[in-house]
Amino acid sequence: MSKITLSRAINEGLRRSLENDPKVMIMGEDVGRLGGVFRVTDGLQKDFGEHRVVDTPLAESGIVGTAIGLALRGYRPVCEIQFDGFVYPATDQIVSQLAKMRYRSRGHVSLPVVIRIPFGGGIGAVEHHSESPEVFFAHTAGLRVVACADPADAFTMIQQAIASDDPVIFFEPKRRYWDKGEIDPAASLDAALPLDQARVVREGTDVTLLSYGPMVRTCLEAALAAEDDGRSVEVVDLRSLSPLDLGCVTDSVRRTGHCVVVHEAPVYAGLGAEIAARVTEACFYHLEAPVLRVGGFAIPYPVARAEDHYLPDLDRILDAVDRASAY
């Protein structure tokens, strides 16, 4: 076991998939020779060749549209969308075609396409490089939408996503690319937690924090800080945003009686709204406070020098924990 960065963990997962299945191929802008702008695909073209790691024309709809065609031919394309804010040109192909082809064909067609998207803010970027568009895809039936939060999960989840016969939108927490953690290269995928399940990453008894992607680490830091106040906070990494693993969530909330959902995406009509509604319905008699949400404001993603106000941080999360506890 060795400590590697999250971006390296995805790289290792991709490498494993390329080795294990000749139908797996990687395609996207700058993924080959350059190794991706975040170096997630570093070295893969060199080792697997230009036929399996394809530098594409600069056209997101083309990337997803041709990936659909390749999947129809029996391939398992893994597409990289360079940044979250660049996925929209591909929206039609994702929503109208990729998500619906199985349903349209009554199960005759499977499209095992993975679309990797680095998402979220916190890296001081210019416009269109810090967005959290996950809810657009979570709202689209037929897609699996997942987010990894740490290197160990990133390593297994990317392999599970590639092995899935459904299209998977795979969100990578770009500001955590350089976080280090241990992966177990010998780990069997069969033994790993299934792709569509949530996970308790820190146990607690007083409040449940639900989060995913880059906010999981922030929630863990908040839970640690809450310890000083004598408050025991449980943190759940949702991992799968669609379909949601509600069982894990309600188990936790029934124990703690308090629930706070945290994401970078705007609170308004965000994933937290769906979770709050479902938790309220499923755990009504266990809740001691309304489900609270912490997230982005109902504004376009702000400028880099002000993004700290927009992004939930430890203090804003603790504030919500306090408010929930005070009910």
């Binding site: 549209g65 391939y75 349903y103 067609v109 039936a141 669609s242 379909p243």
Partner: protein
């Protein structure tokens, strides 16, 4: 095999200039006559014209006639069924039989076709049970056939999306190093304005994918004429993408067959993609919800009736003695029988059971979806317990 030349390079100026405005714009299609660049092997009067690049001595013209006559009859039956409330919608192909039958009969069994939503003639040639198409337009499926069974992909309704799927599929053929396969992508003149179609041209060219883009320029994107889509003829746009572009008389089944066959051969032989513009005319409405009298003159339709794709083949077969009245009567009888069978099958189609709505969203289950299904099943059972009183 000789490669199709990039004919676009021969023309410096566009053959079609800015259309006049207003009422005259409606007449524009009539005046936009086929240019000398257009490949034609059978004139509207049914006279054979030889073209050195496109020998068609080996073609079963009687068979092509039969295909066209049958799909026109099926098309007519579908319109009637829609008018009688048995189909929700139909997209008539009338006028485009030659473009579809000619191009589709040029396909080998291993070639893959990506249709838009009007390619009933292509579906016929691929051997798809035509009831599948009627199911779609009745509203009991979204298509639901297995694309690989007849190498005929599902109908694609969002304009132009399928051109990228075709490109990806062709890239897959390259990766498989399959030398005897190619892909054909069907789309219309309106689709050429979609970004995805430009991306498909670009990708197919960059990767030299074994793909034929087959554009049926039927002169209408619902109501908008081709001049609203492009300042240059469609086939000339290929040059900018590095593709050979060729215009064929889309009402000439022989020309459509010969040109498509050659382009497919070139694609299979690794010479890359090509764009064929089949210059044709949509003699019917866009769909059964449409009223073309709002945007075209009866005289224009009449002018195109003189170029009817089926009548010219009938004239040729009659004149050449390759077919007699008995043959035409026999095809007509076969067409009527086919239409009657389809009608009966359509009327017998059951609505899908309500809980089937929840099937085939994912490869496996989903807890959220399973819960919704169970909840709705329980809700429906509540009605059953009341002996259907509230139904």
């Amino acid at each position: 095999m000789k490669r199709i030349t990039t004919r676009a390079s021969r023309l410096v100026r566009p053959a079609v200039a800015t259309p006049p405005r207003g009422r005259d714009e409606k007449e524009w299609h009539v005046t936009a006559e086929l240019t000398a660049e257009t490949v034609q092997l059978l004139t509207p009067a049914g006279e054979r014209v030889n073209h050195p690049d496109y020998p068609v001595d080996d073609v079963d013209i009687r068979g092509l006639y039969r295909d066209m006559a049958l799909v026109r009859r099926i098309d007519n039956e579908a319109v009637a069924l829609q008018r009688q409330g048995e189909l929700a919608l139909w997209a008539p192909l009338i006028g485009q039989e030659a473009a579809q039958i000619g191009s589709a009969r040029a396909l080998s069994p291993r070639d893959m076709a990506f249709p838009s939503y009007r390619e009933h003639g292509v579906a016929w040639c691929r051997g798809l049970d035509m009831l599948r198409i009627f199911e779609l337009f009745r509203g009991v499926t979204h298509g639901a056939w297995d694309p690989e069974e007849h190498k005929f992909h599902l109908y694609t309704v969002v304009i132009g999306d399928q051109t990228l799927h075709a490109t990806g599929y062709a890239m897959g053929i390259q990766r498989d190093e399959a030398e005897d396969e190619a892909v054909i992508a069907y789309f219309g003149d309106g689709a050429t304005s979609q970004g995805d179609v430009s991306e498909a041209f670009s990708w197919a060219s960059v990767f030299q994918a074994p793909l034929v883009f087959f554009c049926q320029n039927n002169q209408f994107a619902i109501s908008a004429p081709p001049e609203r889509q492009s300042r240059v003829p469609i086939y000339q746009r290929a040059a900018g993408f590095g593709l050979p572009g060729i215009r064929v008389d889309g009402n000439d089944v022989l020309a459509c067959y010969a040109v498509t066959r050659q382009a497919l051969r070139a694609a299979r032989e690794g010479q890359g993609p090509a764009l064929i513009e089949a210059f044709t005319y949509r003699m019917g409405a866009h769909t059964t919800t449409d009223d073309p009298t709002r945007y075209r003159l009866a005289s224009e339709l009449e002018a195109w009736r003189q170029r009817d794709p089926i009548e010219r083949v009938q004239a040729y077969l009659t004149r050449s003695g390759e077919a007699d009245a008995a043959f035409f009567d026999q095809v007509q009888a076969e067409a009527d029988e086919l239409a009657a069978k389809l009608r009966a099958a359509v009327l017998a189609l059951p609505d899908p059971p309500p809980l089937s709505l929840f099937d085939h969203v994912y490869s496996g289950g989903s807890a959220i979806l399973d819960a919704e299904r169970a909840q709705y099943a329980a809700y429906l059972e509540g009605f059953d317990e009341e002996q259907g009183a509230r139904r």
